[in-house]
């Protein structure tokens, strides 16, 4: 609880208690809402995380910009969806990547761009056609769909998800007028207006009376009886419909220990439990009653805020009792701190300083800040990764997204270590570039997936021992290989611009760096690959099965061994090692991402779609570099030899 208070106070400090002019919500309310624990995608997470990824999926970014360009946070958007659905319908949050989708469903675009955002209201008239087309396209296998088909399905899914949100609290606005002469009046103790929670409270009586009336009506055609029965039918039907719409968020922790009951409850589940299993659910019905009050007082921010604080406390007690709340504040803090975003920004600034220091090597105030900024960015990145490990109680890499972050931080740390040893600024220049590329890719990947990146793991991956040994070592191997490739690029660029008049010592040092990093990478790649085999032997009963992912790892090992033996045999020298390192980067990209595109093998948990274009661009660029820059430099070397009549420095 102390933990909770500290983090809450930090969050409050970060965001303040004030209320923005055109917002319905006090910041205090938003902070409290962010801290609500829910169950989603198999794990317990803050409502804030749910809101962020739901908005990211629909909107293509984590915030929404209102008509007057105010930045609306994801949690505020979610609260609007829940409590002010009509207003939320007017928010332009639906990202349409290609307007051909809208042409297909007959929506006019007027002054919109090809890629633009639309509101639910703007799309509503084409909804029927959209769902028809989406249903048709869904029959096509995902990989076979063209862009328009894929985006049509995506848009339809987003609209469905949005509708689930705006209908979620419909039950809380439910009011049923009970006529004084009705038998329902006795059931609800002469209440004139009955709420959803009242019906849940009296569900046993309602069902009992309904059954009695039904029995009577079978032997009696009395119209009064039929009318009474109809009243019950209408009421039960309304409850059933409202309940079935309240499924988007698993809000209520079960009142049993975690081991006995894992699945959290939605209002829909409460209806089923109350009516079909006659469970005693007083705690939950009281919470439902509070939600009704919240909806009733949604236009009174002060009252709402007080009620909301009480609601959060009551709800949190349930998850705290099950030991499922402790990491909620930390996760909210993690996302609000935006450590990866700030790290990226600082990497950009550090690169500017370092680039300037290359241009003006004798100006000390340029290089020092560069180093400091890279260090700060690396600390932030490491901090973010560590927080993720703590939140997930997992080693740093268990998903593709995390592999990007981890590879980035390892590559940057190794660069800094090299810089610490040789102080030639080459590795220092590589560090921010890798940091920027890595974090940019991580962000792109997260946006593309539009899903929570702290996903539940499939059974075979659910092993912290193997995740921390095999996966970690193999990704360190990837990082080293990519770093070697990156430094090799620096080598080629400097050779191309005739840095220091092609001073052989500088280039020899760069090549030694590349070679050293390859050796470092080989160590981790070999160990990681064998550990992977040992894990496969434990999971599937064979050490090696020539599965594409295994083959990818083997290709890295074989190539790095070839470089080592080629160098020792004198077959490749300075330029050769650097070109080989760049080619090694291509092999790592194939192993890391490429094999996932093949769609075969046992490593199905690593499949991704949509990276084909990026990967192709990378391969084309790298092959062109090897072919033309490498070729040009080789020709230059040959030319120099012929001119001077001696061999170049090895």
């Amino acid at each position: 609880m102390i933990h909770f208070l500290i983090i809450s106070s930090i969050l409050s400090t970060l965001t303040g208690y004030t209320k923005t002019n055109d917002s319905h919500w006090y910041n205090d309310t938003l902070n409290n809402a962010a801290l609500i624990a829910i169950q989603d995608s198999g794990r317990i997470k803050p409502l804030d995380t749910f809101a962020r990824f739901r908005l990211l999926r629909i909107n293509g970014r984590r915030v929404h910009y209102t008509e007057n360009r105010r930045k609306m946070s994801a949690i505020e958007w979610l609260l609007d969806c829940l409590f002010f659905p009509e207003k939320a319908k007017s928010y332009r949050v639906f990202l349409v990547q290609n307007d051909a989708v809208l042409d297909a469903i007959g929506i006019s675009r007027l002054d919109k761009k090809k890629r633009d955002r639309y509101s639910y209201i703007e799309l509503e008239s084409g909804k029927r056609k959209l769902f028809e087309l989406a249903s048709e396209f869904s029959k096509i296998e995902e990989k076979e769909r063209n862009i328009i088909q894929a985006q049509t399905v995506h848009l339809a899914e987003n609209i469905s998800l949005f509708e689930l949100l705006i209908h979620y609290l419909k039950f809380a606005g439910f009011r049923y007028n009970v006529l004084p002469e009705s038998t329902l009046s006795q059931v609800f103790s002469d209440k004139n207006i009955v709420c959803f929670s009242d019906v849940l409270h009296q569900s046993n009586l309602v069902v009992e009376q309904f059954n009695k009336l039904r029995e009577k009506s079978t032997s009696n055609n009395d119209p009064v009886l039929t009318q009474k029965l109809e009243e019950y039918r209408t009421l039960l039907n309304d409850i059933d419909i409202l309940g079935s719409q309240a499924v988007a968020i698993r809000l209520f922790p079960p009142d049993k220990p975690r081991d006995l009951e894992k699945e959290w409850l939605t209002p829909s589940d409460l209806v089923a439990l109350k009516f079909f299993h006659s469970n005693k659910l007083d705690t939950y019905i009281n919470l439902i009653s509070t939600i009704e009050k919240l909806v009733a007082h949604k236009n009174e921010p002060d009252k709402f805020n007080d009620l909301f604080t009480g609601f959060l406390n009551e709800l949190s007690k349930l998850s705290i009792a099950r030991g499922e709340y402790k990491k909620i504040p930390l996760e909210v803090f993690f996302y609000k701190s935006q450590s990866f975003y700030y790290s990226l920004i600082i990497f950009v600034f550090s690169f500017i300083f370092i680039a300037l220091s290359w241009l003006k090597p004798n100006v000390p105030f340029l290089s020092k800040p560069g180093l400091v900024l890279v260090s700060v960015a690396t600390i932030l990145l490491t901090f973010g990764i560590t927080l993720r490990c703590v939140i997930r109680a997992r080693p740093p890499v268990s998903t593709l997204y995390e592999s990007i972050l981890f590879i980035t931080v390892v590559a940057v740390l190794v660069s800094l270590f090299i810089e610490f040893v040789n102080r030639q600024k080459a590795a220092l220049a590589t560090a921010p570039v890798l940091g920027m590329i890595g974090l940019f890719l991580a962000n792109k990947f997260e946006v593309k997936q539009g899903e929570d990146t702290m996903t539940s793991l499939v059974a075979v991956l659910d092993s912290n021992f193997w995740l921390s040994t095999h996966v970690t070592t193999i990704t360190i191997g990837y990082a080293a290989g990519l770093l070697a490739g990156a430094i090799a690029h620096v080598y080629l660029i400097l050779r191309l611009v005739k840095y220091k008049n092609n001073d052989p010592t500088a280039f020899r040092n760069l090549t030694r760096m590349v070679y050293g990093v390859i050796c470092f990478g080989l160590f981790f790649s070999v160990i990681g690959t064998i550990l992977g085999g040992i894990w496969a032997n434990d999971s599937w009963g064979r050490f090696w099965g020539w599965d594409p992912k295994e083959n990818g790892a083997l290709l890295i090992v074989l190539w790095e061994l070839t470089i080592l033996h080629g160098r020792m045999g004198g077959y490749i020298r300075e330029l050769g090692i650097n070109l080989a390192a760049i080619f090694g980067g291509c092999i790592i990209a194939f192993s890391w991402w490429g094999v996932n595109l093949l769609g075969v093998g046992l490593h199905s948990y690593g499949w991704t779609s949509g990276v084909f274009t990026a990967l192709s661009a990378f391969y084309i660029t790298e092959f062109l570099i090897i072919l033309f820059i490498g070729g040009w430099l080789k020709l230059t070397e040959v030319f120099v030899i012929q001119k001077k009549g001696h061999t170049p420095a090895a």
């Binding site: 033996h565 045999g569 075969v600």
Partner: protein, 393 residues
């Protein structure tokens, strides 16, 4: 002698190592892509378990390549000659020697696995028990002789004796214990018996209106169902009986001879376990509110010499006993409703080299660590020296 020395130098050279490594890379790369069209088993046989192969570039241009078996053998020779015999015996090479030893152990272990390991599966419904497991890929012909009303005797023709019988090849099998010879022909790794219609002709024999239709191998080779033509040739010159055996047949092919009804089956090869496994309960747990599997677990009882022992087999935690390892592989039926009996499938492996990779991993780790640390220390010293020299300047 000079030729021998040149040959030895070539076999032990860095250049030869590079050639093999690059060829292995090409093979691995091509084999990986081929899996998209042909599945892992077929590709493994063609590319990695072979001596030579022909790869068709873009499905058109034939390129002969050495197979994985040949390349690994050559790599082993190169490793022994270059990595142990020819290498300079110096303090700085200790790490490399250790690493080479670990790699040699991996290659040896892969050969032992290839030559001596067996693997198959055992499927049990809850409360069912068995001490036999079946092969995923190999088939055998079983001849059953009824010896009394409730007893019978089995004769087995292992798959290795007939799996090559494709095209026009056939083979006759004889046994002094049998009153007939068996001739097998036209083995098809994946086939389906079909009725022969009047409007088409087939190139294979038609028996009782049916013929075996050869199908393309499945990408997941364990889904193949084999078929073969059989002729039962009585030793007393009686009439030859011809039939079709198919792996999924519901009733066996039968022949009546000397008052006995002999039955003939084509079935997956089976092996005996030295203990019995009983499936008590299968548990499948999903992450709450999702379709993502969290746990697959089989509660089993291992029965051996009348002694029962309860154990659990789950993902990443197999049962290892008497050289056999049982892994949680799959379960079913996929459409089971709550309360329906479930089955669990275990992958069963006996691999004498099971633990070699662990030892090799430790050895290689130590070797590489020693070598690269030596290099790193040297590198840091050199760089420090350079920095110090620059400062003095």
């Amino acid at each position: 002698m000079k030729v021998l020395i040149t040959f030895y130098k070539f076999l032990s050279s860095f250049g030869f190592a590079c050639i093999i490594l690059i060829l292995l890379m090409i093979l691995t790369f091509l084999g990986t892509f081929e899996q998209v069209d042909y599945g892992i088993y077929e590709v493994q046989q063609k590319y990695f378990n072979s001596i030579f192969l022909v790869h068709y570039l873009f499905n058109k241009f034939p390129i002969p390549l050495p197979g994985g078996g040949l390349l690994l053998s050559l790599l082993f020779i190169n490793l022994i000659l270059g990595g142990f015999v020819r290498i300079k015996k110096h303090q700085s090479k200790v790490g490399i020697l250790i690493t080479h030893f670990g790699i040699a152990l991996i290659i040896v272990s892969s050969y032992i696995t290839y030559a001596f390991s067996i693997d198959g599966y055992l499927t049990l419904y809850e409360n069912q028990q068995s001490d036999k497991f079946l092969s995923y890929y190999e088939w055998e012909v079983m001849i059953v002789e009824p010896t009394s009303k409730s007893q019978y005797r089995e004769f087995i023709i292992p798959g290795k004796h007939f799996k090559h019988l494709q095209g026009s090849r056939n083979q006759r099998f004889q046994s002094s214990s049998l009153p007939f010879d068996i001739e097998l022909k036209l083995f098809m790794p994946n086939a389906q018996p079909l009725p022969k219609g009047p409007v088409f002709n087939v190139s294979v024999p038609v028996i009782d209106g049916y013929f075996l239709n050869q199908l393309r191998s499945q990408k997941e080779a364990e889904q193949n169902v084999a078929g073969i033509y059989i002729s039962v040739i009585p030793k007393d010159d009686d009439e030859i009986k011809e039939g079709i055996l198919w792996g999924m047949e519901r009733f066996p092919y039968t022949v009546e001879l000397d008052g006995k009804i002999w039955s003939f089956h084509l079935r997956p090869r089976s092996w005996q376990l030295p203990f019995t496994v009983k499936l008590d309960k299968f548990t499948r747990e999903l992450h709450p509110g999702t379709a993502i599997a969290k746990v697959f677990m089989s509660d089993i009882t291992k029965i051996e010499d009348g002694v029962s022992q309860e154990q659990k087999i789950t993902m990443n935690e197999p049962l290892r006993h008497k050289g056999y390892t049982l892994f949680q592989a799959s379960w079913g039926p996929g459409n089971a409703k709550p309360g329906d009996p479930l089955f669990s499938t275990f992958a069963v492996v006996r691999n004498p080299a099971d633990k070699y990779p662990v030892y090799a991993c430790i050895i290689i780790s130590v070797g590489l660590l020693v070598h690269f640390l030596q290099k790193l220390v040297k590198y840091i010293r050199t760089e420090n020296l350079k920095i110090t020299n620059n400062l003095h300047k």
